[in-house]
Subunit: 145 residues, 2 copies
């Protein structure tokens, strides 16, 4: 009961998000957004595909890639790189960065990066117009030490 109500709420949220973005509300998209919401760490294409299939959706890889393009386009998700030779994605939102454990792969968020001061300086000194930035720390997490 509890669970299904929660899931329903999630699905509502996904649908809303899609409608706001003027996208058709399809099952694959709803389930994918739900997946982005529930995962604590950024996910890759393979993980999205696997999750969709768990939900009995026969979604194709190409569809996932196109979905991602669309979501990036509408600013629903953000693309990240952790030096794995592939991209990871997370719901767009708060300005935050990551602590990536090189041992277990766990990804922790850190926020409030205070890098806006930097961007200002860069604009003044280098006349470079900063659109966005990426900041990741790599190392060993607490429990792996």
């Amino acid at each position: 009961m509890q669970v299904s109500r929660v899931r329903f709420a999630f699905m509502q949220l996904s649908a809303q998000l899609l409608q706001q973005s003027q996208l058709k509300v399809t099952n694959a998209r709803k389930v994918a957004i739900h997946f982005f919401e529930k995962e604590e760490r950024p996910v890759d294409v393979e993980e999205i595909l696997f999750h969709l299939r768990k939900h009995k959706l026969a979604t194709d890889r190409a569809t996932v890639y196109r979905m991602i393009d669309t979501f990036l386009d509408r600013g629903i998700i953000t693309r990240l790189e952790f030096g794995e030779g592939k991209y990871r994605y997370e719901l767009a939102g708060s300005d935050h960065h990551h602590l990536v454990c090189e041992n277990c792969g766990r990804v922790e968020d850190i926020s409030d990066c205070g890098i806006e001061a930097w961007e200002k300086k860069i604009k003044q000194k280098k006349h470079f117009l900063v659109k966005h930035h990426s900041l990741e720390f790599f190392g060993i997490c607490k429990s792996c030490q």
Copy 2:
């Protein structure tokens, strides 16, 4: 004259670097390191290969990849990602980050990132041991604006 003397000096440097790293001094490696030195912006595998071929070396792609692995291993070069779906490399050294122009692709260095304070904070607050970090700014460079 001038040019060939300079080039010779570079080659000496490359050879030294290789010997210090206990690597065999081969033509491909010397020319590659020279290339890393002379390029202002981080290079990708294709560019390395192209440069080697310009120097009449029939180097194979696989060799370049293995060379890169070796150089990374010895800390001669550093691997970078600029959201292109592939890696770029530069000589390791100064602690610096990049301004990546999303229009022309030019990459400018910025140094003295003062992020050590951050790392300290992260260690204290999150008990995360930072080994290295990446910081890139994406936007539009002066001449593209």
